[in-house]
């Protein structure tokens, strides 16, 4: 913490600006060399790890020219801190190209206008990104991901998971889950014990009545404009 205080004073002087937007956080880097700004940004995030953890970040890099290796390294450093970089806004065409090469959006509206990848029938849905989270999500944690999410652990009441794809909870689902958050109606939610606060798939939302008896694995999906929850039977999937 001693170090943090020093960092804090640096951070206050830094040109970095943070703004909350609909898609997450927008950080404007301001003037300076990329190396300097990168250090300031990471210092800032380290100082408030709890706040940034799980955040979706769009980065406004202004007129900076950033190399692919630099941007890739920054993305990895952010992801080590639980921050997912999804967009880079730049006035330099070269930087935009670099960002697109890394699969990042270059406009803030990209996230919304993208068509959901609807129901590929392949066994392996190529091109989809999935993450494996090996810990229990406690109250107050918000996990958002562009792709599928598997959680090995519980989702406690007060924790929220939002994914553009499906969500699998290898544990007890007691919190809230939004699958198919950009409208993918093929998304499913599975849990070993399905007792969520609420579940949300694409545009539909439901609360489940209290479960009786021994918990069993269940799967929630959309059928006929409703979310249905049924016992998960290996053969049917």
């Amino acid at each position: 913490m001693g170090v943090d205080e020093i960092r804090m004073s640096e951070v206050l002087k830094s040109p970095i600006q943070i703004k909350g937007i609909r898609e997450g956080l927008l950080i404007s880097l301001g003037e300076g060399s990329f190396q300097e700004l990168q250090q300031q940004l990471l210092g800032h995030i380290d100082h408030q790890l709890v706040f940034f953890r799980g955040a979706r970040l769009a980065l406004d890099t202004g007129g900076l020219t950033i190399k692919a290796s630099e941007l890739g390294a920054l993305r990895d450093q952010l992801s080590e801190r639980g921050v997912s970089l999804w967009a880079v806004i730049s006035s330099k065409e070269l930087t935009e190209t670099t960002a697109r090469m890394l699969g990042l959006a270059t406009r803030l509206t990209d996230a919304k206008s993208e068509k959901p990848t609807s129901g590929s029938k392949n066994d392996v849905e190529s091109g989809d990104k999935a993450v494996l989270v090996r810990k229990t999500l406690r109250s107050g944690v918000y996990l958002e991901h562009d792709g599928h999410v598997t959680i090995v652990g519980d989702v406690n009441p007060g924790a929220e998971v939002s994914a553009t794809g499906s969500v699998v909870v290898w544990g007890r689902l007691l919190g809230s889950v939004h699958a198919g958050s950009r409208g993918d109606r093929e998304a499913v939610i599975c849990a070993l014990e399905m007792s969520p606060t609420y579940i949300h798939i694409a545009g539909l939302i439901t609360q489940l009545s209290a479960r009786k008896g021994k918990p069993q694995p269940e799967i929630a999906r959309i059928a006929n404009e409703n979310i249905i929850v049924e016992a998960w039977k290996p053969k049917s999937h």
């Binding site: 913490m1 001693g2 943090d4 205080e5 790890l49 709890v50 953890r53 229990t136 406690r138 109250s139 107050g140 944690v141 519980d154 406690n156 009441p157 007060g158 007691l174």
Partner: protein, 264 residues
């Protein structure tokens, strides 16, 4: 001497942080441990009241941090237990008068003075909580067997993990076996199932706690009540002893266990 620093926190207010801090301090001191309690609830101090040391305050935590007095001048020695000391919070300031690094510095300075440093955290998850947690070697999360308190405890445990101060240990306070038996209260098992951390102890609901708190004589000073016994057991567990849990949890043969307790 190199003291171990332990922060007692909960998220939710009113679950018994201050009472537990005072009583664990008394129980540790009765094991001949030198204990310094720090009230980090600046602006809403009351550890001094619970310990019955209110009218002996001259200097406080903020005075030490801002250099108006030496550390030892702010340590109030409890006349009932010479091993027990309190550094009170400032009442006329707020949480922002202290930073996490101030707390780390202060506690490091205290380490040579004591065996245990117990830090009473304010409620909440903001600055005051971060101040309290920064110097901790160990964190004790206290909760009541009720849904809202357990929810906040879960959040706090997550924050403690994020600050890399974990794994925290759990105290369940004000457990009422009769209510559990009637299905009106969460049992210790219900609480543990959700929070999934090590249980350090259970303190039963006991009106002796309230009475003693109002009098400024922590219940642990008088060894007879159940709550007092629970605090003394917890102190021994903190010292590394293996002490079986008192069974208050109202499971199947709860009546048998209870009558056994009353005989004991």
């Amino acid at each position: 001497m190199s003291a171990k620093s332990v922060t007692i926190t909960s998220g939710k207010g009113g679950v018994g942080k201050t009472t537990a801090t005072a009583n664990l301090a008394v129980a540790l001191a009765s094991l001949n441990q030198k204990v310094v309690c720090i009230d980090s609830d600046i602006g809403l101090r009351n550890l001094d009241v619970v310990m019955g040391l209110e009218n002996r305050i001259v200097y406080d935590l903020v005075d030490v941090i801002e250099g108006r007095c030496r550390l030892r001048q702010a340590m109030i020695r409890d006349k009932r237990m010479p091993e027990l000391h309190l550094i009170p919070a400032a009442q006329t300031r707020d949480k922002s008068s202290v930073s996490p690094s101030d707390m780390v510095k202060l506690v490091d300075e205290l380490r040579n003075e004591a065996d245990w440093i117990l830090i009473d955290s304010p409620a909440g998850i903001e600055r005051g909580f971060r101040n309290a947690i920064a110097p901790a070697d160990e964190v004790i999360v206290i909760t009541n067997p009720e849904v809202s308190a357990v929810r906040d405890a879960d959040r706090i445990i997550g924050l403690i993990e994020a600050e890399e101060k974990g794994p925290a240990r759990l105290l369940i306070n004000r457990l009422n076996p009769a209510m559990i038996k009637h299905g009106d209260m969460l049992s210790a098992d219900d609480v543990l199932e959700l929070l999934a951390i090590e249980l350090l102890g259970i303190i039963p609901e006991d009106e002796a706690v309230l009475i003693s708190t109002n009098r400024g004589t922590p219940v642990a000073l008088d060894g007879k009540t159940h709550a007092s016994q629970a605090f003394h057991n917890i102190a021994r567990r903190m010292m590394g002893e293996t002490v079986p849990l008192l069974e208050f949890d109202g499971r199947s043969d709860f009546l048998g266990r209870l009558s056994h307790l009353f005989k004991a």
